[in-house]
Symmetry: C2
Subunit: 186 residues, 2 copies
């Protein structure tokens, strides 16, 4: 691991539990001096921007590796459902590791990151729209709302993990099941 990666990994961990952590606290968590952190990242904003970029890289990789484009083209309900469960599981891991990127104002407001996030959201929503057409997801709500709901449940999973309210090994199943089946008793 390069020093830069060590700093980033420590920053990701620390900022997810303490979103206002300073560069000095990040340096301590990484076990390096402040000067070393500043050699790699000119400012806290630069560091957060890089975490945001990594988060979008993971999101993009998940959609590619889950073959979302092919799955949409197949229009096969079973493949679509399996694909949704796969991407939700990967998103939960990423939300745990890169959780700060989900809600940090610096990340959300950077124009280049915002543009990429908008495009990835549209790709993801296309899967939910295909799922609606295939009878996998309900059709009485906007597909984009389903996309926002997934995002909201990822924020919930991150916070529940940080608070110690759910077990790490339960997080994926909880998000999948809550997104698909909701909270009402059956």
């Amino acid at each position: 691991m390069t020093t830069r990666d060590t700093v980033l990994a420590a920053a990701q961990r620390l900022l997810t539990t303490d979103p206002t952590a300073s560069m000095a606290q990040i340096a301590t968590a990484a076990g390096v001096g402040r000067a070393t952190v500043h050699r790699h990242f000119a400012s806290r904003e630069d560091l957060l921007h890089e975490i945001g970029r990594r988060s979008l890289d993971r999101w993009a990789a998940t959609l590619v590796e889950a073959e979302v484009t092919d799955v949409i083209a197949s229009a096969d309900p079973e493949r679509i459902r399996a694909c949704i469960e796969e991407i939700l599981g990967r998103f939960v891991i990423d939300a745990h590791e890169l959780g700060i990127a989900l809600t940090d104002p610096t990340v959300l407001n950077a124009a280049d990151l915002h543009e990429r996030a908008t495009a990835l959201f549209a790709d993801e929503v296309a899967l939910y729209a295909a799922a609606q057409a295939a009878g996998v997801l309900r059709s009485d709500v906007p597909a984009r709302w389903l996309g926002h709901s997934v995002y909201g449940l990822l924020v919930a999973a991150r916070d529940a993990l940080v608070a110690g309210d759910i077990a790490r090994n339960d997080a994926q199943a909880l998000v999948r099941s809550t997104f698909l089946e909701g909270g009402a008793a059956r």
Copy 2:
């Protein structure tokens, strides 16, 4: 409306759509000078703290006005279900009006606000636990997870409203229905 309230209302609106808005931008949005904003709020942190306090006041008022304590004591499934629907509807309005408070790091990390939020979350979770015991909400997930899920769906509703992906008049029904029934087709 006092000048202080005018500034706060403008700040709430602007920060919900632009979480990094500066004090100067808030002054412009409120139609007052920067000096006026600074006379009421010494810093951006002070202003955000006040928005956080107002947000918690609403949360507390909702739990009182929906008679959550009485509803829990009743153990009546119909009253519990109606109470959950009522608080979700109110939370959606508050998330729209005070949306910045849901995820702003300054708000979330202020020790006094965090302490109050923890206590209110526990009161809310007690309702979900009562709902599980009464067969209204599913019992195979932690009651605290249901609390986090509600919070996540409020973040989703705020973002979907800001993005223009859902109609304001649909937001309450979307959150209620998604929380209770989930996204799968029936």
